[in-house]
Structure formats: C-alpha cells, structure tokens
Amino acid sequence: MGSSDTFKSLCLEYGFALILRIWLYNSEFKATVSGRVEVSTPINSWKKVTEGVALYKDGINPYSGDMFHESPVGLVIYSQLIDQATPYLSAIFIIFDLLTGHLLYLTAVEYMKHLMRRQNEDKDEYSEEVKELLLTDKDVKRQPLYVVAAYLFNPYILFNTVAQTTTVFSNFCLAASFFCMVKGNRPVVCLFLSLATLQSLYPIVLIVPAAICIGYHTLPPVNKSKSVTSKLPKIYQKILPRALQSTNSDHWVRSMAATIGLFAAMTSSLLVLSCYISGGWEFVHSVYGFMLLVPDLRPNIGLFWYFFTEMFEHFRLLYLWAFQMNALVLYLLPLSLRTRRDPVLLAATLTGITAMFKSYPSLGDVGFYLALLPMWAHIFPYLQQGFIVLAAFIITSVLGPTVWHLWIYARSANANFYFGVGLAFAIAQIFLITDILLSYTKREFILRQVSGSVFNGKHRKLVLA
C-alpha cells in the first residue's frame, strides 16, 4: 500500500464519516440519542451545559445548585460557544470529533513507527522462527487506518457526537495528550492532560504513562564507555524499581518529576483560573465532589448507581473509597510496573479502566478506548476471549436499551434488569482489557523466550488463572 493509497483511504474515511454525522445530526435519531442515559450523564450532557450557561449569564452562580458539573474554564468556553456560534454548534462538534479521529490516526502512525524501531533494536533477542510473527510494513501502514475507522465509525462514538455531549471535547483533549505523549512533547501533553483532568478528573491517572513516555523520549543516548555515577542519594535508588536503578536513574527521576511537576503546576494554575472565573471555590465541590461523592444516582452504564441505591447509607463512605480506589489507583502501580516498556499501552489500559469504573461513564468514553485498541491489532491473534467479548458487546448493546424501555416506559421490568445488562457489559470490557494485556505479555514471551522445540511442541500454556 503506497502512501497515496493511504491518503486516499483516509480521505474516504473522513468524507464518509462526515456525511454520516451530518445525516445523523439532521435525522430524528438526534433527539432520541441525546436523551439516552447511556450517552448523556449528568456530567457530560449538553442540556446541563445550556442550563449552566443560562444561570451564569443571569449572574447566578451555577455551582451553588445541583445543575452544572463542568469546570469553570469549560463554562466560559461553552458560554462563548453558545453566544457566538449557536448556529454552527453541530459543525463544531463534528469538527472536533473528526479532529479527534485524526489525532488518533497521527498517534497510531507515530506509535507504529516506534514499535518498528523497537522491534529493529530488539531483533537480535528474537529467535529465528518467530520472524513471520513480527510487525511488517503492511501492519504499520494498516493499523493507523484501522484506528481512525474504529473511531469514526464506532457506533458508541457516533451516539456520543450526535448527542452533543461534552465528552467530545474531553476525548479531543485525551487524543491530543496521546499524540503529544508519543511525540514526547512535555509541555503540551501536560497542558492537554490538565485540561482533560480539569474537565473530568479521572484522566489524572494518565500522567503516569505520560511521564514514562516522555522519560523514554528524553533518554540520553547510551554511552557505554562512561559509567555515570548517580548524583542522587542512595536511598532513592533503593526504592526505585530495578529497571530504573540503572545508570539513567537520575534521568528518570528528574524527567518524571519534571513532567509531574509541570502537570501539577498547570493543573493548579487552571484551578486558580477557575476560582477566579467563578469567583470562589464552590466549583470544586460541585465538579470534583460530584464525581467523587456520586450524589446523583441516575442510572448509567457504570456500576455505581445500583450499588449506591441499594446499600445502607452508613456504608456509603466506605464503598465510595472502595469504588473510587478501584477506578483511580488500584491498578495504577502494578500495571505501570508491568507495562513500563510500553507506556502507550499503559495509557490505553488506564483509559479503559477509568471508562469502565468511573462514577459517571458514558458510551463516548467506552468508544474512545475501543478505538485505541487497533493500534495493537498485531496482538489480536493472541486473544483468547475474542468470541465471548464480541458476542457480549453485541448482545448487551442491544439488550440495554430494550430493558430500559421495559423498565422506564412500559413499567413491566425493573432496575435489576437494566443493571444486569450493565454488569454484563462491564464484564465484557474487563474480559477485553485483561485479554489484551495477557496477549501482549504472551506475544512478548513468545518473541523472546521461545525456542523452537517449545514453540512447536506441546509443553507449556499461558492462561489467566
């Protein structure tokens, strides 16, 4: 496939995606989709944004009530959008969506280059027999196209765009940070990550893969002749993981500290700016308190609402801690250690985990990380649960709205039906993510460890116990 072919198929994809979106915006599905709880949550729904903007314009603090949960920076931007560009709103949403798709494409291109580079570096570690399993130029050309197709034609993303949720913008920020991450641009990645964090808090975990990624990019060229003695105190070297206790350990500590510091500085200055805009710190409770304390238990595709409606009130705090730790920090350290060689995979996994476990998830979040996965299309052959995940995704996506109708409109079913489907959806996602991680490990293992006899014979197995 030549580069002109790639260009042609890219243009085709964008053109088709544009037509699809314009048609959807003008069809009667728009009203239906934007009312769906799977797509619009209290945090991202455009309706709430317009309410908040109306309050803001009337001089009422939108954060004093329980109406508006976007950040003040977002409030100013949206209010400008509504003021200046109301007739072009749908165009703006579509453009941002297409831009997100293109950023993901660029990310994938860059990432595939990086994978090829690493494959060439490590080539001597691989055995002869696995040559056919290595990445080829064809994969490198093709997988970015898959990524952009998986984003632009993903039904979840289509719903999200058509419903005009603010997840379109947070996905844009995330895509931009992914792109800058693979490019190794520290200030911009910090900027976009802090914007995404400001809007929806959970992307804060992505700073870890971002820091690792930038650490790799700024790694000084290996100079074997000169052994660098660490200038850091001994104690730091002890607590660092062994991989980091190399000669480069002070580079790592410095680079990561710089990235995290810059991120912290940017985030806090954005917070101060927000405080200045909204004239007080009430927004912290109304935005981040809302996400962390989960006061609104309207059903969504997540797992919070059902548990917190069912549970006794005095356990609430305990379970809030448990659920939020699950979404934010529980997997951060182990996954960071395990996949530190591939921070982009780590970032995608963390995006997936937060999209699954966060307090107000929407289909836009799910669609975003699903669109990232074709970057690892070369590990799909190692997947074990492919069939189950595929079937579960299809069945739950159809069954969800069906039982919702039965519960809310027909009043013949109840909340258990809907939560059951939501739970199955979450389980399918968990299967998918664990399977991707496991396949990644398997591939690494096969490429490095396998000698001919093991590989062709019947000896070992590698399963998730």
Partner: protein, 621 residues
C-alpha cells in the same frame, strides 16, 4: 496440540466437546426448546393463578349497583340517537347525559394526518367525564372507557357499553368512598381516539411527529393507575371475554386479569379467554390429561398469535404503553337459549373492579408482567417459558462459536501456524465490518422507503400500492446486491459468525418484550440460519434462506392464509390486496402508535437476513 494460544484439550474439555458435537447439540437444543414451549400448558408446568396484591381485596364488599333499569332506558334512547345520526357520534346527547348525572364533562378534538399521503386528514372527538374523588386529592385516577361505534361501523355496536358506563357513572356519583378520580371516556374512531386521548392526557407522542395531532385536554384527573375498556354488544350477554394483549405484545399486570376473572366468577357471569372457556367447565367427565393439555395448548396458541402480532386487540392495549394496566371486557350477545348476563350482573362486575382498584395503595407492582395464559385461571411465568427461546437462540450462539473455532483451523498443530492463521483472519476484519455497516444502512433506508415511495410514486397508483411497490423493488434490489462484491472465504465465515450472533441478539431482545413473537421467529429462522452455510445442497440452502426473507415470508403467509380461508375467490388478487393492506397497516401502526414491528423488522431483522444472505450466496464456493 495448542500450547500458548489455547489451553490444552483437557483444560477446556466442555468447550471442546461442545464444538466437536455442535450439530447434534444444536438439533437437541432446538427440539428441546420447541418441546418445552409446547409442554408449557401442561398441568405439571403451568400454575394456578393467585392474587399477589393484598390491597385489591377483590369481592370483599357486597355489590350495590342497581341502576340496570336506568341503563336500559339509556340504551333505548341512545339507539334512537344513533339511528337518527348514523355517521356521527351523538356528542350532545352524551354531554347532556353526563351533565345530568352531575359530572364534569369535556370533549377532546384530535386530527390524524394520514402518514402515507400529503393532504389527507381525519378528525375525531372524544367525550370524557371526570368524577372527582371525594376522599382524595385527585392525584390518582381510574379510567373506564368505551369505544363508540356508529351504525356504519364494521364492528358490532357498543351502545350497550355506553349505556352501562353512564349508569355506572350515575351510581358511582352517589358513593362517597372514591379515593381516586374516575374518568369515564367515550372514544371515537376505535384505537385512534384512545391513542389521541392518552397522548393528550400525558402531553406526549408515541408515533412519528405530525401524524396524530392529539391536541390538549381541558381538564385532567390524577395519574392513571388502571383502565377498563368495555365493549358490550348487547344488554343480554352470553359471556365476557377478557382481552389482554396490548401494543407491541405488552401485557397488563396479572393481578388485574385475575381480578376481572374472579369478579365475573363471583357475579355468575360466564367468562372466557380468547372465547374459550376453561376445559371441563361444561362437561364434568373424567379429566383426560392429554385432552386437557391439548385444549390448554390451543388456548395458549390463540394468545401467542394474538400477542405476536404486536397489534392490540382492544383499546386497553394502548394504555400499556403509558404504564397503565388495562384490560378489555368484551360482552357477546346471547343468541342461544338460557339465561343471559344482564346489565345488573355486568354492572356489579364493573363496580367490583372499580372498588378493588380504588383500594390500591400503590400502582400495580406485584405479580407478573410477563406471562402466558392457558386458561382463565392458569398462568405460565417468565422464568418458566423463557428457556424455550433461550434454548433456540443459544443454538445460534453455539453454531457461531463452532464456526469461529473452525475458522481458526483447530487441525493446525503448532502455535506458529495458528498465529499465522489468526493474522490471516484479522485481514478480513475491515471488509466484514464494512459489510455489516452497509447492511444496517440498507435497513435504515428500508424504513424510509414506504414514505418516499408513497410520496413520489403516487402518480401511478394509490399510496398503499405505491408503498408496496417501493418496498418490493428495494428488497429485490437488495437481494441482488451481493452479486456485486466478491469476498474472501474467511470473511464469509466471519460474516456468518456476526450474523448468527446478531440473530440470537434480536431473538433474545424481542423475547423480553414480546415472547410469542420471539418464539415464532425462533421456530422459523433458527433452522434456516443453521442450515445457511455448508458445502453441499447449495441451491437448497439458498432457496431456504430466500424463503425466510421477511417480506417474502409475510407474502407467503398471507397467500397461504387466503387460499385456506377463501378458496373460491381469485386467490392471487385477494392475496395481493391483503398483502398491501397488511403492509399499510403495519406502517400506519408504526407512524401513529409507535408499533415497533416495522422498525425492528427493517432495521434489525432485514440487515441480519441480508448478512446471512451474503453468507448463503457466497459461502464455500
């Protein structure tokens, strides 16, 4: 065998065995589902119905309804009115009667723009009276409705029903125990009137925009808890048939159905379900289990076919959509000898129902919403009947799993070969994804075809015929579409997997809404879907799958039905007429009431059929 990719054989023995013997298992599961479904009405499986809601207190108070002679007078007067105005509903008479009783009475205007034509509109008017609850704050209401039919109507007159609810209104007016508003509703134009009134009451619209202009109501009561629709064909009633099947196959709460049957029993009114009395009601001979089963099965199948159509068999069916439990009581005229049920008894039944509903503390939430009835006092709950569809739909998933496995060529010995193979398969993902997307796009287009063709081909024919022509032309085009593109054999198999999963999904989703429809679809589609792919008998497979093309299937069913029921008439002409009618009705139902039969058939069933059609056409050639 497999090392790193699949756990060795022994580790997943069940899956391995399942895939190895998938054909036998599939046949077994399909037959199992079918037998389970047919066995449902046996006495070992079904259960006797019971009241789950305590607060109904059915039949606890002695009936006090004595206005039967008033009802008779009204009936005579109303029949005079109808014969003097044969085409119109006697509004002024109705308003006068309600006012005389002392109720607040209002009229409600609505307009229907015929969805298949630009400027064709019908108008109608409903009359309703509200009895404000003396012991409540008008937060809840009960509806008692009658569809009014003029003398030109094709259905039997319901004048007796109108007379009776006026008499009941008069009776209720003097009682002081009502804690819920009673709304007495007389609708025009059959279901259109009821739908318009409900939409106006709830200020919403179920169908497409601009079709049913339901207008607004002058006055409302509280949230409607339950509704009883009354169709009395005479003042001398042979039996009351209780109709429950609603729009999209929705059913009322079983407690309400039981309540009606129990009160009919109490007042000595002969009551039936689908015009079938319980087995052994008439003959007191020895009970033969086989005959009982066969009789119950017949009753259950009557319900299954009525419910599967998705079309309400009475005005009660439209209330379900709004979360209101409702039934229709149809009283048939007594023609043979014997003592009939009179206004007195039927009035007392209605009084009992209203008083029980008045006792309700919360909306109906106990008992069952998903059930099948095989007699007036026997039910089969969802947990018992769902395995029938579950088994049949799972055969599709099992086949999908087997095909998926065979795609990965389990004969390959080493992991390396397997990996290479998997890479080959992943090459087809893009084309398969595109094909599925295109199929669904075709489905969405198909839903638009009726309107477009009715609007733009009207020059050659009337709108219904134009719609049929459009649909048939589009479908024929779609049938020949796969010829254009060739596909890799792996892609075909992958497409088969997706098509099977999708079909199973549709069946499962439909089974939750409308179990009978799902059963019928499973029985018809599953064998053909399983038969769709294979090396031998290509032509037979193609013909088989073509046979279940949704539009063709409907046409064939109608042809069969006409040739059986009207053997003397010119069958083809009659069948074409019936086919046109059926499609028009299904579109009008979709546009007016929000019946999802057409939209599901076009946007889900047709694309799935199309995906599998590609598989049948191109498979293993």
């Amino acid at each position: 065998m497999p090392v790193l990719l699949d756990p060795p054989e022994g580790c997943r023995r069940p899956t391995y065995l399942m895939v190895k013997h998938h054909l036998k298992l599939e046949i077994l599961m399909y037959l199992g589902g079918l037998i389970w479904f047919l066995a449902l009405p046996s006495d070992h499986i079904q259960s006797a119905s019971y009241f789950s809601e305590n607060s109904l207190l059915p039949g606890l108070v002695k009936g006090g309804f004595v206005e039967d002679s008033y009802a008779k007078t009204l009936l005579a007067s109303l029949q005079d009115e109808i014969s003097s105005h044969p085409t119109q509903m006697p509004y002024s008479w109705l308003l006068a009667q309600f006012r005389q009783i002392g109720l607040d009475v209002y009229t409600h205007n609505f307009t229907v723009n015929y969805p298949l034509s630009r400027d064709l509109a019908y108008e109608g008017q409903n009359v309703y009276g509200i009895l404000r609850a003396p012991r409540g704050s008008s937060t809840e209401a009960i509806v008692l409705s009658v569809p009014f039919r003029g003398s030109k109507s094709v259905h039997p007159s319901t004048a007796a029903g109108v007379a009776l609810i006026l008499a009941i209104a008069k009776f209720c007016r003097r009682q002081k125990y009502w804690a819920k508003d009673l709304i007495f509703l007389i609708t025009e134009h059959e279901q259109l009137g009821a739908q318009a009134w409900l939409e106006a009451y709830h200020k919403t619209s179920s169908g497409r925009d601009g079709v049913l202009m339901s207008g607004d109501l002058v006055s409302r009561g509280g949230a409607i808890q339950a509704a009883v629709n009354l169709e009395l064909f005479s003042d001398r009633i042979s039996h009351i048939d209780v109709k429950i099947e609603g729009l999209n196959g929705q059913l009322p709460n079983l407690d309400l159905v039981n309540l009606v049957h129990m009160l009919c029993n109490k007042e000595g009114v002969h009551h039936t379900f689908h015009n079938r009395a319980n087995y052994g009601d008439r003959e007191y001979s020895k009970v033969d289990p086989y005959k009982t089963w066969a009789y119950s099965l017949r009753t259950m199948l009557e319900m299954v076919f009525a419910q599967a159509s998705g079309v309400p068999n009475g005005n009660h069916g439209l209330f379900h959509r709004f979360g209101i439990e409702a039934v229709t009581l149809t009283g048939y005229r007594k023609v043979d000898r014997g003592s009939p049920a009179t206004f007195y008894q039927v009035g007392r039944v209605l009084e009992g129902i209203l008083r029980s509903l008045n006792n309700l503390l919360e909306r109906f939430h106990q008992s069952y919403f998903f059930y099948l009835l095989s007699a007036t006092d026997r039910y089969i709950s969802i947990g018992v009947y769902i395995p029938a569809v579950g088994l049949m739909a799972s055969t599709l998933l099992l086949r999908a799993l087997a095909v998926w496995r065979s795609l990965q060529l389990p004969s390959l010995q080493s992991d390396k070969e397997k990996l290479m193979r998997a890479q080959e398969i992943s090459n087809c993902f893009a084309s398969v994804g595109l094909t599925v997307l295109a199929a669904h796009a075709l489905g969405v287009l198909l839903l638009r075809v009726p309107v477009w063709s009715a609007l733009y081909i009207t020059s050659i024919a009337d709108s219904s015929l134009a719609m049929v022509v459009g649909l048939v032309a589009f479908t024929t085009l779609a049938i020949f579409l796969p010829v254009l593109k060739s596909m890799h054999s792996d892609a075909i198999l992958l497409l088969y997997v997706i098509g099977l999963i999708e079909l199973a999904t549709i069946l499962l989703a439909v089974s939750l809404h409308n179990f009978p429809l799902a059963v019928i679809c499973s029985i018809v589609f599953v064998p053909f879907a399983l038969f769709a792919n294979g090396r031998k008998l290509r032509l037979l497979r193609i013909l088989g799958w073509l046979l279940v093309q949704p539009l063709l299937l409907v046409a064939l069913l109608i042809l069969g039905y006409t040739s059986i029921h009207f053997p003397d008439d010119p069958i083809i002409a009659k069948a074409i007429h019936a086919f046109t009618q059926a499609l028009t009705f299904s579109f009008v139902d979709y546009a007016v009431y929000g019946n999802w039969m057409l939209s599901v058939a076009t946007t889900f069933l047709f694309p799935t059929w199309f995906v599998l059609w590609i598989v049948v056409l191109k498979g293993n050639s």
